[in-house]
């Protein structure tokens, strides 16, 4: 047994060593879920850590007991087996305690979930439509609409045998030509649908992920408290380029957002703008009718 343990320790050490030099040269070795920039994402992170630590404590107890038994009651050390084969008291205890722990976890989880599902009183509504393989963003009341696709440099580098080192591309696969721009400190409601297959819109920093389903409208909300650029990806397999339709949200101070919006509304040529308006009028009434 001790020989086996020695082998095991040596192999673990060897595999860890094998990876270290590579790691030192590259980026961070992230271990945990990052804390987001919305209240909901912080609550979700809190829940995640709560359950994680509960699991760690249970693991210590259970694995501790297993390891103790393995070390203490060894045949090779002449251990004499006991004869008991049940204990009603122990079995009742280890049925009831887990139930109590689960109830303790379920209460805060349910409370957070209720807030996640409350999309009332939003200040801005954006319709997001998934396409193979890009996103369309429509500001329903502001009459602005555009597509958002993978940035050119990422797209060039991601081709099979492109010869371009992804490490040299900024925000490789997580950058788009035109990000979604939203104001900070604003409850934004996102209406999700799809034009072809099912996609899923996900920004980890907002803690939110929801499927975009053709023929149906889903909704989610977020309220980003800090300006910044937040990156995510399509999270539902949607065909060949599923890995290449990132979500980028640019959260700006309110004044900057207003200026951006003005530029979008006035900056484009008149016929194009008229077309956008026409699409939006039709789409807006349709979507709102379904969402109600």
């Amino acid at each position: 047994m001790s020989k086996i343990l020695k082998y095991a320790a040596a192999s673990v050490a060897a595999s860890v060593m094998a990876c270290l030099p590579v790691g030192a040269a590259l980026a961070a070795w992230d271990l945990n879920m990052p804390v987001g920039v919305t209240e909901l994402s912080r609550d979700i992170h809190g829940l995640h850590m709560l359950i994680f630590w509960i699991c760690v404590i249970i693991a210590f107890a259970v694995f501790g007991m297993m390891i103790y038994s393995i070390v203490k009651f060894r045949h090779s050390q002449g251990a004499v087996p006991a004869k008991f084969d049940h204990s009603t008291r122990a079995e009742i205890v280890w049925t009831i305690i887990p139930v109590a722990i689960l109830v303790g976890m379920a209460i805060p989880a349910a409370e957070t979930l209720i807030r996640i599902e409350d999309t009332r009183n939003s200040e801005l509504t954006i319709k997001v439509t998934g396409y193979q393989w890009k996103w369309q963003y429509e500001y329903l009341d502001q009459k602005v609409s555009f597509f958002s696709t993978l940035a050119r440099d990422s797209d060039a580098a991601r081709q099979l045998d492109s010869g371009i080192d992804p490490q040299t591309v900024e925000h490789y696969l997580l950058n788009v030509d035109k990000p979604l721009v939203v104001p900070e400190d604003t409850k934004v409601r996102v209406l999700l649908t799809s034009a072809d297959v099912i996609h899923a819109w996900w920004v980890p920093a907002f803690g939110m992920k929801k499927d975009a389903i053709p023929g149906f409208v889903n909704e989610l909300w977020f309220n980003a408290e800090e300006p910044g650029i937040y990156r995510g990806q399509c999270a539902e397999l949607c065909g060949r380029d599923h890995g290449f339709m990132p979500v980028v949200v640019d959260v700006r101070p309110k004044a900057e957002y207003e200026a951006w919006l003005k530029a979008q509304q006035g900056g484009e040529s008149a016929p194009a703008q008229a077309a956008v308006e026409k699409i939006n009028d039709g789409a807006a009434t349709e979507v709102v009718a379904k969402a109600e």
């Binding site: 086996i4 192999s11 595999s15 094998a18 990876c19 590579v22 790691g23 980026a27 070795w29 992230d30 271990l31 979700i44 829940l47 995640h48 994680f52 259970v62 297993m66 038994s69 393995i70 009651f73 060894r74 045949h75 251990a79 087996p81 006991a82 008991f84 049940h86 122990a90 079995e91 139930v99 989880a109 957070t112 979930l113 209720i114 099979l160 045998d161 492109s162 490490q167 490789y172 696969l173 997580l174 072809d196 297959v197 899923a200 980890p204 939110m208 929801k210 499927d211 023929g215 149906f216 909704e219 399509c234 999270a235 539902e236 397999l237 065909g239 380029d241 599923h242 890995g243 290449f244």
Partner: protein, 533 residues
């Protein structure tokens, strides 16, 4: 082959009856003997394990570093899809059916399975089903690439492979249903006198419950894929909003099959571990009755938790809460099982033969999979975890060191019984350590990747995910290559080796009727029913 000659010789001596197998290919093609069919299932499963494993290595090779170096994204998607289908329907499920074929008659004191010709049919469907499935790799448009979950509308974009996939799934389903019916009928009708239900070995119990799950849900899968077929070719709109259908309805039907399917793949492993731990702890299983009731509770709960696979589709709040609570409840009977196994070892006298090593590894690593499962049940947290590598890590922990280590533990436990030879203990111990270490190098970092935000089923990733992906790929190749050792050990043992006694584990305390028969057991197992006190 030595086996065949010996048995044939035996048949010549007593030409008035049929106590031996047929000669040559007839023995296998016309097989009605539970051991021969069990062997075929197990060999088939091992071949599929390597086929599916090769696909996994294609995936991990492409993910070794960022950028696309080896395959087109479409082929990558085909690999993830086919890897899952081959491993689930070709490796894990047939392996357990093979174990049931070998062990159920031996453990309940029966001469054979109740329905031997159906047994033959249910096995021989499998090679055809998988020829059909694997041949899609060579048709125009490539193999199915919409994920093994076959969600519409994406699955309808597959080319020529689409109907082939559907028919292959139908064939696998038919085979599974027949195999399951056979197990139920055998257990219900052919137990030795005196063996009441609550005296059955736990492996038999877990298979009885698994067989009921199979009979209940395989037809549901068949229905779901048939609806896909009619949507595609006959103008129905079950899953198309434009015709009044709903793509999410497919997901509900699929996961109504899919969640019990998860337990179909783990309950027999629970049974195996419940046999092995008492043997090598030299102490009776702790809480036998509780183990049976826990298994039955898990099976019942598996029917009412399916929507936890689809929390992000936009269900009503009440629905999400119900599925969250029901899912969390599964932790209770699963916990009871883990505690009982631990209590079995407590104050025992433990030795570390290869089957026990795999059972212990199962115990630790399956429990880790259980913890991540509990985390995934929490809906708000699941909004972050869903469809990321955290999920990939979770289900591989319950399927590889869970189901597959369970199968390997079973093979190391019963292989001397099947072949009459002891295997090379040193090599088997090496196989254990290599597998256990590399399976963790392979899958543990995937938790980190998922939490850091890497979606699953992507052929290429942002550079921030590069480090752990590289570690994971190293683990994958280590794990994959280690399994060649397993194939070698099994092959070597089948060919010869030190003779095994009837009890096989002479210094331990194996319980059950299988140990009262010679190793290997006679052709018709129990010709006279043993008496069970």
């Amino acid at each position: 082959m030595a086996h065949t000659h010996e048995a044939a010789h035996h048949a010549d001596d007593h030409s008035h009856d049929h106590h031996g197998p047929e000669k040559g290919w007839r023995r296998w093609v016309y097989a009605t003997n539970h051991k021969d069919i069990g062997t075929m299932y197990l060999v088939f499963s091992l071949i599929m394990f390597f086929v599916g494993g090769t696909m996994a290595l294609v995936i991990r090779a492409e993910l070794f570093q960022p950028g696309l170096q080896l395959v087109d994204p479409m082929f990558f998607n085909s690999m993830t899809t086919m890897h899952a289908l081959v491993m689930i329907f070709g490796a894990v499920m047939p392996a357990f059916v093979g174990l049931a074929n070998w062990m159920v008659p031996l453990q309940i004191g029966a001469p054979d399975m109740a329905l031997p010709r159906m047994n033959n049919f249910s096995f021989w469907i499998m090679p055809f089903a998988f020829t059909l499935l694997l041949s899609t790799l060579f048709v125009p448009g490539g193999a199915p690439a919409g994920g093994w979950t076959m969600y519409p509308p994406l699955v309808l974009q597959n080319g020529t492979s689409f109907p082939m996939l559907i028919f292959a799934v139908h064939l696998m389903g038919a085979s599974s249903i027949m195999g399951a019916i056979n197990v139920v009928v055998t257990i219900m009708n052919m137990r030795a006198p005196g063996m009441s239900l609550l005296k059955m070995p736990l492996f038999v119990w877990s298979w009885l419950i698994t067989a009921y799950l199979l009979v209940a849900v395989m037809p549901v899968l068949a229905g779901a894929v048939t609806m896909l077929l009619t949507d595609h070719y006959f103008g129905t709109t079950f899953f198309e909003a434009a015709g009044g259908g709903d793509p999410v309805m497919f997901q509900h039907i699929f996961w109504f099959f899919g969640h019990p399917e998860v337990y179909i793949m783990i309950l027999p492993a629970f049974g195996v571990v419940s046999e092995i731990i008492p043997t090598f702890s030299r102490k009776p299983l702790f809480g036998y009755d509780a183990m049976v009731y826990a298994t039955a509770s898990i099976a019942f709960l598996s029917f009412i938790v399916w929507a936890h696979h689809m929390f992000t589709v936009g269900m009503p709040l009440a629905g999400q809460l119900f599925f969250m609570l029901a899912t969390m409840l599964i932790a209770v009977p699963t916990g009871v099982k883990v505690f009982n196994w631990t209590a079995t070892m407590f104050k025992g006298s433990i030795s570390f033969e290869p089957p026990m090593l795999f059972a212990l590894s199962f115990l630790f690593l399956f429990t880790i999979g259980g913890f991540s499962g509990l985390m995934l049940a929490i809906v708000p947290a699941d909004f972050q975890y869903h469809d990321t590598y955290f999920v990939v890590a979770h289900f591989h922990y319950v399927l590889v060191p869970g189901a597959i280590f369970g199968i390997m533990a079973a093979v190391y436990y019963w292989l001397p019984k099947w072949t009459g030879h002891m295997y090379n203990n040193k090599l088997a111990t090496w196989h254990f350590w290599l597998s256990t270490i590399f399976v963790n190098v392979l899958f543990f970092p995937q938790h980190f990747l998922g939490l850091a935000g890497m979606p699953r089923r992507i052929p290429d990733y942002s550079t921030q995910f590069a480090d752990w992906n590289m570690v994971s790929s190293i683990g994958a190749f280590g794990f994959g290559l280690s399994q060649l050792l397993f194939a070698y050990i099994v092959w070597q043992t089948a060919r010869g080796g030190v003779k095994a006694s009837a009890k096989v584990w002479d210094t331990a305390t194996p319980h059950g009727l299988e140990w009262t028969l010679s190793s290997p057991p006679p052709y018709h197992s129990f010709e006279v029913a043993p008496e069970v006190k």
